[in-house]
Structure formats: C-alpha cells, structure tokens
C-alpha cells in the first residue's frame, strides 16, 4: 500500500495463453464489488503467441494512473518463475511475490539459443525473500483440471486481499463455464491454503 494506505498495486505476469488477463479481470471485478475504484491495464497483441504478458491492477479510494510504477507494486503474482524474475524491479520494499513454480520455456530456450536461469527458485528466494512458490498447476490438476491454474493463483493471493469469499465465488462463477464452478472453487481453496 502507498503511504496514505489507500491504494493497492498488483502486477500479474505470465506467458500468453496462461490466463493472466482472466485472473486480472476477476481481481478487478472483485475490487469493484467491494466498493473500490479500480484501474487495470494490459498490453495484448503479439502477447497471444506465447510471449510475456503483464497486467497492472490498482484499486483504492481514488486513483489516477491505470499503470503501476516500478518500485511501487505491493504484490507480484506470477504464473511462471522466469516471468516473476523479469518484473522484480516493480516490487516495493516488503512486497509479496507469489509465483507458480512450473517452468515454461521461452522460444529462445526451446530453440537452444538461450538458457533458462539455473536454480531459479533459489535465485528468487535469495533476491526476494518475501516470496512463495506454489505448484499451482499440480494443485489445479488435483482440483480436477490443469485449466484452473489461474484460479489457483487467484486463491493464493486471496488471503492477502480484503475481499470476502462470497465475492470471489460470485465473480469466478461468472467467468468459468457453469459446470466447472465447483472444480474452480476447489482450485481456489487449494491455492488459498497453499500460499499460507
């Protein structure tokens, strides 16, 4: 939170196709439902084809900019370890990083043109001690489908945010296929428990 304690800045990062934009949509709607002013910004376009994706989400009593400035994010929610490291300069002192531990190779690595950082979990923990890695994809599979990985990630940050469970359930059931609401809520709960 900023000095006056009224604004929360969240950066959500990942790889095109992982559901970063849906997760930030749910977060934004939840914040709106709780009566906050919300601003969110993302860049799509070429990001669909497996590139890095980042979404900025801000909520509070009154805010102007839709984008988060480097050094001022209260939370970094990352769907992939390398995409967590890439956005470290957005973190403010004391910020919390939650990330999915499942590695997704960038094309440069897949083509043998670059190497994925060694011991990435160690490196994250060393550079940013206030971080929690969770195996969100495994938890999503446990809930019933790997597709719910982004909902596990939402669950993982839920404990840190001032939104009641009913609000989450309400918004999540609006964005997932009707038959999968319970699976997704289970994924949400698993994420919540894992990040504690």
């Amino acid at each position: 939170m900023t000095e006056n304690g009224t604004t929360t800045n969240i950066l959500i990062s990942g790889v095109g196709g992982q559901g970063v934009l849906l997760a930030s949509y749910v977060l934004g709607q939840a914040a709106m439902k709780e009566g906050y002013e919300v601003k969110q910004s993302e860049v799509h376009g070429m990001s669909q084809r497996g590139g890095s994706v980042v979404s900025h989400l801000r909520f509070g009593e009154r805010l102007a900019s839709p984008i988060v400035t480097q050094g001022t994010a209260d939370f970094l929610l990352s769907f992939e370890p390398l995409e967590a490291l890439r956005f470290f300069n957005w973190l403010r002192p004391g910020a919390l990083l939650i990330y999915n531990t499942l590695r997704v190779n960038p094309s440069t690595v897949a083509a043998g043109l670059a190497t994925y950082p060694d011991d990435i979990h160690g490196r994250i923990a060393e550079t940013w001690p206030n971080s929690r890695g969770i195996d969100a994809t495994l938890l999503a599979e446990e809930a019933g489908t790997a597709k719910a990985t982004n909902i596990v990630m939402l669950g993982s940050i839920a404990a840190e945010l001032p939104f009641p469970l009913e609000t989450w359930r309400d918004i999540i059931s609006r964005v997932v296929p009707p038959k999968t609401v319970e699976t997704n809520m289970k994924a949400f709960e698993l994420g919540r428990a894992a990040a504690r």
Binding site: H44, M46, R49, G50, S107, A110, G112, P117
Partner: protein, 598 residues
C-alpha cells in the same frame, strides 16, 4: 449503472449512446476491439472493410446519407485513409463523422510510433483525446456533436493505455432514431472539383478559427488549480500519470487538443509560476503553445520524444527539472532488477502453417521481402528469413523493385521473393502484384492463405466467405483474381510438406516471369485445429538439434551429462502434430502418433 470497461469497450458504448448508425474498420492493435464490441449493438450497422481507406470512404458515404458514422483504425491505418480524410475535411459531413485513431506509443505491437495528433493539424480537423474510459465514452458523443455543428470530420485519438486499460464507467442510454428516408444532393458541398474546392478551403480555415473559439468554453478543457508553483499542461492518459505524480499541482487538462484554446492557456500561464507541457511522443501541444508566444518552462527538453511515459518517469523527470511536490512514493528506488534474462518473444504457434514455409526460405537463403502478419515472426530466430518489412502490402512492390535492379546470375540466394498473408494481400497487396505484372517483373509472390486475419485475433476478411459477425458472404477467389491481374504462373503448395514447398519455391524462382504460389492451410489457432502429438524416440535421437530450426515451442533440448545424452523432447501438451520437425530429422527419430485402435 456502473461497469469496468476498457477504453475500447467504452468507445463502442459511446458510439451506441451517441446514436451512431454505421461503423466500419480494418483491424489493428490497439483498435480492434472497438468494432468487435460495436457489432454486439444490433442497432449499429457495422462491418470490416478490406482496408482503412475503404472503411473511411464507406463511413463518409453513410455520413453524407445522414447517419452518424464512425471509421476506426490503428495509427498507421490513418496513413492509408489519409486521402479521403483530407478531402472529407473540405466536404464536411451531414450526419456526424468521426475517425478513431488508436496510437501505439512504445510500439507494443506496431511498426512505427507516429503521433497522429499531427494529422488533425495537417487535415485541419478538430482532435479529441480522452484520458480514461469514462471520457472515451462521453467525449465520443461530444465528437459527433462538434462534427455536426462545425460540419467537419473529427479525429478522436486513443492510445494503447487508453484502449487497453479498464476503468469505471457510468453507462447511459441510446436516443430513439428515425429512419433515414431522404438522400439529399448537394453538388458544391460534396463534389470536390477545383472550382468547388476553392470555395471550400477558406471555410475550412475559418472553421478551425471558430473551433478554437469554442475550445475556450468546452468543459473537456479545464483549469484545475492547485499549488500555483507548478502548472502542467497535458492530455490523454498522460494527464492521469501527471495527476498521480504531482497530486498537488495545477493542471490545464485538455480534452480537445486541436485547435487549442489560446485565452485559456494564457490565463493558466498567468496563474502559475512554472509551466510544463507533459506529453508523449511529439512536442505537439508544446510547439503550438510556444507559437502562441506563451512561455514554456519545460517540455521536450525534459521529457523524451520516444516511447511511453508513466507516473514514475513524470515524477522523476519533472523533479529533476526543478518542480517541487512529486509523490515521494514514485521517486523511491525501484526493486532489484534482474539482468540478462532470456527474452520471451511471441512465436508461431505449434502447428502453424507458416512454419514450413519459413523453414524452407531460411534454408534457401533468398532475400525475403516480407509483410505484416503472424508470419512476420519468420524474421526472428531461428528462421531469420525476412529481410524487409515496412508496411502492409509493401512486400510485393519491394520485391519487384529489387528484382528490377539486381542481376541474380542464376543464383537462388540472390533473388527476392515476396511473402504476404491473405488479409494483407486484400488490404493492399493486389496493386503491387498488378505493378509487377504490368511492368514485366519477374518476382515470385507467396500468398500465405490461412483463411483469417490471424495477427489481430482472427478476423474475417474478403477471402473467408464470412463478414464481421460470421454471416455468410461472397468469397474472393484468389487464383482467379491473380489470373485476372495477368499472372500466368500460379502454383500451389502444401506448407506442411517441406520437400514440396522447397521444390515449388525453387522452380518458380527459376522462371523469369511473375509467379504466385498459394500456400493454403488454415490457422490452427483460429480454427481450433488439434492434432495428436508426435514423439521423439530417445534411442534414435542423436541430439543434433537440426529439428530445432523449425522454431517450435513444443520442442526442447534435454541437456544430459555428456554429448551423447543430449536429446530433443516434445512437450505433448503443446505439440500440435504437424510433423514439420520430423521432416528435419535425418535419423527418423521423430515419430507420428500411433492411431488408437477403435
């Protein structure tokens, strides 16, 4: 009712609330979702056009017929549409006519960073710039009112951060509209022969002066006084950044950024100690303000002329220029950045039909005169098989120009081949091919007909047999069209078959006359085509990495202890079973899926 809308959703809503009857566009990031949202409003007649010039012309026609009408495009689209825009400035309108230009500072997904505010001044039309979604919706209504009141097209500029940011919006309703039943004819107004145009030009000049007067009283232009020691003149999303960065400062917030309200600017100048103009890209406001004789204490000497700003950069740069009062939070040191990370650029999807063509082009070492679409990714590693790419449709003309002045001496690698997608061919490639044929060219054009406009998210185009909302439509027959242009050699190839692809390209390059090769295979993402994954036989794989030259994200290298343990692996979740990598393998180590017995 309130909702969180992106700027693009808000503009669509604004069009509906403004009583727009007609909207046309050509897709282009960050503008695409405006029309994609408009199509959900059934009382707006909407369509994709083959390009932005046509979109502008049909929208202008609808305006002449009395409808409020809208043409939507990305910034470079206005270059294509500039011809009708500049003379529509002379004809004026009947129903309000607004052109939305979606600019892309920082080039998130564009080939240049042009600042289209300059078009307003050049074409002598008013310019509006919203600074969030609420304004995007409300100011679009104002744009139509101004268009009708001043008999002028209006340019409405959004940027990526407005179009793709979501902020809260209070929704309104649409007025009831009467059907349009009378088509009025007015020769001197709409027929721009020199004689009539000469009468119009002075009116256009007077119109801008009148609009400048109106700018003084429009409530989208306003002075917000705070600390008088810092005065900031700004517009668009930059207003939000500056508000965040200097919460206590004084602001002149401009919603109409051309023409500018001189008296209001002078008044603001007289109330503040230091005046700063904060804007992205060109010194558009700054230059005009300085020309008014108003003293500016900081503009492009403080802020960069390239890229985007953000609250942090505004706080830092203005503080360095001596302005007090920045939000301390924004001046804090950023977190520990991590250098040297591998990039994660976008890539062709697993199974993409463009992959085989670029694998072969890379091997042939020809000069690939490229174009814009997903296939532009053929320029990236590991292909490196696109050697020029300038604007939509340019590939064919450039290849023709290259072949006119070079002597290939029978060598394939000294030749140039044009590569263009279907949507881009319809957009502006046809005339290039016409030129090649007409002027006895000899270049080869490969049309990658994947039956969609994939790069921008899979829109219909004139060749797909469907229109904007998927309704059946006439389908352009590419071979017949090409034949009608005078092309005698038309070849086909299966882009998933590397041997055939190589043979056909080599054969056509060897012939000294224009030829067209059509690679027809649908986009796997758009058409949701899923094939079972291929697998690597670890006994046979030698780790030679030859297959990695197809640049597929489903392939990866498993580094073993020693040389001989290094293997390639296929991720079964990502692989889309196209078999292109297998054709690269000299050891038959990549195997097709085993059909499951029924």
């Amino acid at each position: 009712m309130k909702d969180i809308l992106s700027g693009n959703e808000a503009m669509a809503r604004g069009a509906w609330e403004a009583g727009v009857r007609f909207a046309a566009a050509y897709p282009g990031t960050p503008s695409t979702e405006i029309l994609e949202n408009i199509r959900n409003y059934e009382d707006i007649e909407s369509q994709w056009s083959p390009n932005e010039k046509v979109a502008t012309e049909v929208a202008l026609g609808a305006s002449i017929a009395g409808a409020r009408s809208l043409a939507v495009m990305k910034h470079v689209g206005v270059n294509v549409a500039a011809d009708p825009l500049f003379t529509a400035s002379y004809t004026g309108v009947n129903g309000g006519f607004v052109m939305i230009t979606a600019d892309d500072p920082a080039m998130h997904s564009s080939q240049n960073e042009q600042d289209n505010r300059n078009y307003a001044r050049f074409a002598k039309v008013p310019l509006l710039e919203p600074s969030d979604s609420q304004e995007a919706k409300d100011m679009l209504k104002l744009a139509f009112e101004l268009s009708e009141e001043f008999d002028t097209p209006v340019l409405f500029r959004t940027t990526t951060r407005i179009s793709h940011s979501k902020t809260m919006v209070e929704l309104g309703e649409r007025p009831a509209l009467e059907p349009l039943t009378v088509l009025e004819k007015d020769v001197p107004k709409y027929t721009m022969l020199p004689g009539f145009a000469k009468l119009k030009h002075p009116k256009v000049e007077q119109r801008i002066l009148d609009l400048a007067q109106r700018a003084e009283t429009l409530d989208v232009n306003r002075i917000e006084m705070g600390d008088p020691s810092v005065g900031i003149v700004t517009s668009g999303v930059v207003y939000q950044y500056a508000r965040e960065a200097f919460p206590g400062a004084s602001f002149l917030k401009l919603g109409m950024t051309y023409p500018l309200p001189q008296a209001m600017i002078e008044e603001f100048r007289s109330k503040v100690e230091h005046l700063y103009v904060v804007e992205e890209l060109d010194p558009f406001l700054e230059d005009i303000i300085r020309l008014m004789g108003v003293k500016v204490d900081g503009g492009k000497d403080v802020f960069p002329i390239t890229g985007e700003l953000d609250p942090g950069s505004v706080a830092r740069l203005l503080t360095a220029a001596g302005a007090p009062g920045a939000d301390a939070d924004l001046l804090a040191e950023p977190g520990p950045g991590v250098e040297g990370l591998p990039m994660r650029p976008p890539t062709l999807c697993p199974g993409c039909s463009h992959r085989g063509v670029f694998t072969v082009l890379s091997r042939l070492k020809v000069f690939v005169s490229g174009d814009i679409g997903c296939y532009t990714l053929g320029a990236m590693a590991p292909f490196g098989a696109m050697h020029a790419c300038v604007c939509m449709g340019a590939s064919i003309g450039m290849a023709h120009g290259i072949s006119k002045v070079t002597d290939a001496q029978g060598q394939i690698k000294n030749q140039s081949v044009a590569v263009i997608g279907d949507s881009t061919f319809f957009h502006s490639g046809i005339t290039g091919l016409m030129d090649t044929v007409w002027n006895q060219g000899a270049s080869t054009t490969i049309i990658l007909d994947n039956r969609t406009t994939a790069m921008t998210g899979g829109q219909e185009n004139p060749g797909t047999g469907k229109a904007l909302s998927g309704q059946p439509a006439a389908e352009v027959d590419i071979p017949k069209l090409v034949e009608a242009l005078g092309v005698k050699r038309i070849a086909y190839m299966d882009p998933y078959d590397l041997t055939e692809t190589e043979e056909v390209i080599k054969r056509e390059l060897a012939v000294p006359e224009p030829s067209v090769i059509i690679a027809q295979a649908p986009c796997v993402l758009q058409f949701k085509i899923m094939n079972d994954p291929w697998t690597v036989d670890s006994e046979l794989c030698t780790g030679c990495k030859r297959c990695l030259r197809v640049g597929c994200i489903a392939l990866s290298l498993l580094e073993g202890e020693g040389e001989e343990d290094t293997l390639v692996e296929i991720d079964p979740v990502q692989c889309n079973g196209c078999g292109v990598c297998a054709q690269m393998c000299r050891f038959d180590a990549i195997l097709p899926p085993v059909p499951v017995e029924a």
